[in-house]
Amino acid sequence: MRRLRGLGAVLIGHLIAAAGVAFAVATLAFVAVQMAPGDVAFRIAEARYGERISLQTVDQARAATGMDQNVLVQYLRWIESSLTGQLGRSMVSGRPVMPEVWRSFQTTSGVAVAGVGLALFMSLIIGFAAGMQQDRILDRAFLFASAILSSVPSFLIGIALITLFAITLRWLPAAGNNLPGYAILPSCTLALALLPDLSRVARNAVVRTLQDFYPTYGRIKGQSWPRIVFGHALRPTLVPIVAYFGPLVAHTIGGLVVIDVLFNLDGLGTRLIDSVLAADIPMAMGAGLLIGVSVVAVNGISDIMVQLLDPRLSTPRLRP
């Protein structure tokens, strides 16, 4: 009961944080649009009409989107509509923002979940293999490879995967999201970009866990290494890895923008960047809102999972 109460408090805390972060990120998106150089009406008209932009279309865009109004009025109008659950309409496409950003969120979350899942799975295998061989050749080889891979930008990883699996072997689509299997290369790119950091966390966690008393106790009892690893060491090893998910998500969002562009995915990253560049304020704020909520949600899930993995963290400490 006490544990459930602890989890409930965590949940409520994160819900309050989610609301705050979401509005902060959306407001930052609004500020970013306003701060970008140039008259926003020209940027909207260019995004809307492409090479058919003219001085007349700029005037039309200005009048149609309310950009001739005061900046504060524009912001307050958006706050008002978002409080009623409406994020407004895109200034570029004229379509409602919510279904657009939701579709992008689905694309992004599909790639992110698969990429992070794959990175987690691989990092556990690598982390255990290296951690159990601490300071031996396998461990040193891992640390060396990890340092190399972490210095490679994610777009180069993506280009290498496209060249090998799409252009040379022709096993997988190079870009787009209409063919089955489209998410494999973007997910693998993300996974490989996350792998060095995540597997180092896993390797260090394994090293620390194996230095604890219970693996030794297990060996004294005559248990096999697999039994010690999967039966006892896996769970405490997962705690720092899951706790690392917070900063990992922030890292992932930056990487997803690159992946969206490289693989021509209509994801949340390109949605935010394109809308800021096009001065599409409702779309930028909607995308920012969803990104903010996602970050807080993953942090919350991570906190709850840590407490589930290690119940001591949700139990009040005894005072001396």
Binding site: R48, R52, L172, P173, A175, N178, P180, G181, L234
Partner: protein, 519 residues
């Protein structure tokens, strides 16, 4: 506790799923024509993506243009004009159905034209016609003009002149869905990059040869090249010129290029002190190495332009005009004659003012190397070009605030088949104040007069005389400095019958309904 068996099973399942979904991608979708072009579906507004849905053969216009560049009937089976040139009669084709099953009627065409007339967008052609009334007369729609205007059928080939079903529009007149009459109908639009098409069984003309098409809008040139090289797409419609050799070298696709009526060249502010003297303009023009730029950047020496109108417009192109050769000594002499003398840092100066200006460089793959080449070539005659990143919006903004000096245009003189439609927008007195992409503050009364004579000419001889004058004036004044003519490149995969793919020099349609599978 997580069991070993669970981990092993999960790993195996993950691996099998990844491989299976990847492999099945090609097996299941082999018979869908996969096409891509560097254009996204940003909105459904007529001024925006109507051009695109016409290219995709979803929507149609009263009059169309054949791949050979000639006017041809589409939703109007014929047209004629009264002797006084004031009443145009378009006979509407019978038996045409929209994709929602409703019938195309003359009344619907009249309502659509009335909607086009209301547009206040100067990039839409029909709204610029001098129409006084539109009436239905049996199967015909009669358009009465306030003054004779010879280009009415041409203007009805414009993208925003597509005729959509009433169900395409919301109560406020905005387009919510594309319900056209073409051989393909929209099955699904997903975001701005993905459109699924299926053949329309009740199409009035020859049915599409391939039943299903998927369109992917891709703005990144490298991604387009990757998709072509990977064999993921059957047709890349508008492969960027700078990537043509790279894609062709893969050996998995064949490229069909055609020279378009689109020119790439510098535009300038004719009222700016650096360009208000024809000698200054000519100096800049002959300081540029067109052949070198066309060969090195556009991989096609034939792309070097010596006039506004490319060979894609045979009635307007002057094949006898000599190439504009680079002549640095003459360029320096012309600058000196205009009062520009070398300054201490090599940049020419006049009355303490350096001949220096900023240029915005767009994100198209050819623009950065082109701008750098021009910067280096003009530096040789003492002109300093400062490169800044930026696309069309900052150029237009600088025009609006009066700071524009020099920029680039990618002008298509075949937005409708007759280039006079574009010239009217750029140089006719009534519209030139709003025009940008044909040059800023350029006025020539003789050119304006020739334009008016051309559009109001009743006889072919009068029109031909006005055309000759327009060609001569545009080639001598050079309101746009011709640099290169663009090629339109289509990359065609081995799955598609190469000869069945029409390539349209005027960029009106992809003609995908005529494409056949190779087998």
């Amino acid at each position: 506790m997580i069991s070993r068996r669970a981990i092993l099973t999960a790993s195996l399942a993950l691996g099998v799923t990844l491989v299976a979904t990847g492999r099945s991608a090609w097996a299941e979708d082999q018979r869908i024509l996969q096409i891509t072009s560097p254009r996204e579906i940003t909105s459904l507004a007529l001024a925006d993506t109507s051009y695109h849905f016409r290219r995709l053969r979803v929507a149609e216009t009263l009059v169309t243009i054949t791949p050979a560049g000639k006017l041809a009937p589409e939703l109007a089976e014929s047209w004629s004009v009264s002797d006084d040139g004031l009443v145009w009669t378009f006979v509407i084709r019978s038996g045409v159905r929209f994709h929602d099953g409703t019938e195309l009627t003359p009344a619907r065409v009249r309502d659509a034209i009335e909607l086009m007339r209301k547009s206040r967008n100067n990039t839409e052609m029909v709204s610029q016609l001098p129409i006084s009334s539109v009436d239905v007369d049996g199967r015909a729609v009669k358009i009465t003009l306030t003054r004779p205007f010879g280009l009415v059928p041409d203007f009805f080939t414009d993208g925003p002149a597509i005729i959509l079903a009433p169900s395409s529009f919301a109560a406020d007149g905005s387009v919510t869905q594309i319900i056209g009459t073409g051989p393909y109908r929209v099955a699904k639009i997903e975001g701005k990059t993905s459109v699924d098409l299926e053949s329309f069984p009740d199409y009035w003309g020859e049915p599409a040869r391939i039943g299903r098409v998927h369109f992917t809008g891709t703005t990144s040139p490298d991604t387009i090249a990757n998709m072509a090289e990977a064999g993921q797409v059957d047709l890349v419609l508008g492969l960027p010129q700078a990537l043509r050799d790279r894609v062709a070298a893969s050996g998995r696709v064949r490229i069909k290029p055609v020279q378009t009526a689109r020119i790439l060249g510098p535009i300038y502010n004719a009222k700016d002190v650096r360009f208000d003297d024809p000698a200054e303009r000519k100096a800049v023009s002959i300081a540029l190495d067109r052949k070198g730029i066309a060969t090195a950047i556009f991989k096609n020496p034939e792309a070097a332009a010596n006039q506004l109108f490319s060979p894609a417009l045979p009635d307007w192109h002057d094949p006898k005009l000599p190439p504009i050769e680079r002549n640095l000594e003459e360029a320096k002499r012309l600058l000196a004659s205009a009062g520009w003398v070398p300054g201490p840092d090599g940049v020419v100066v006049r009355n303490g003012m350096r001949f220096s200006f900023p240029v915005f460089v767009g994100k198209q793959p050819e623009m950065a190397p082109l701008a750098q080449a021009i910067q280096a070539q003009l530096a040789e005659v003492g002109i300093e070009v400062v490169l800044e990143k930026g696309s069309q919006a900052p150029v237009l903004e600088s025009v609006a605030n009066g700071s524009f000096v020099f920029g680039f245009t990618r002008r298509n003189y075949a937005a409708v088949p007759d280039p006079v439609a574009t010239l009217l927008g750029d140089y006719a007195e009534a519209t030139s104040a709003q025009a940008v992409w044909g040059g800023i503050n350029y006025h020539n009364a003789d050119l304006e007069s020739a334009l008016q004579r051309y559009v109001s000419a009743a006889r072919d001889e009068d029109r031909a005389a006005a055309r000759d004058e327009l060609i001569a004036l545009s080639n001598s004044d050079l309101p746009v400095l011709p640099l290169v003519w663009y090629d339109y490149n289509v990359s065609i995969s081995n799955r598609v019958d190469f000869d069945s793919v029409p390539v349209d020099a005027l960029e009106v349609s992809f003609w995908i309904d005529r494409v056949k599978w190779a087998d």
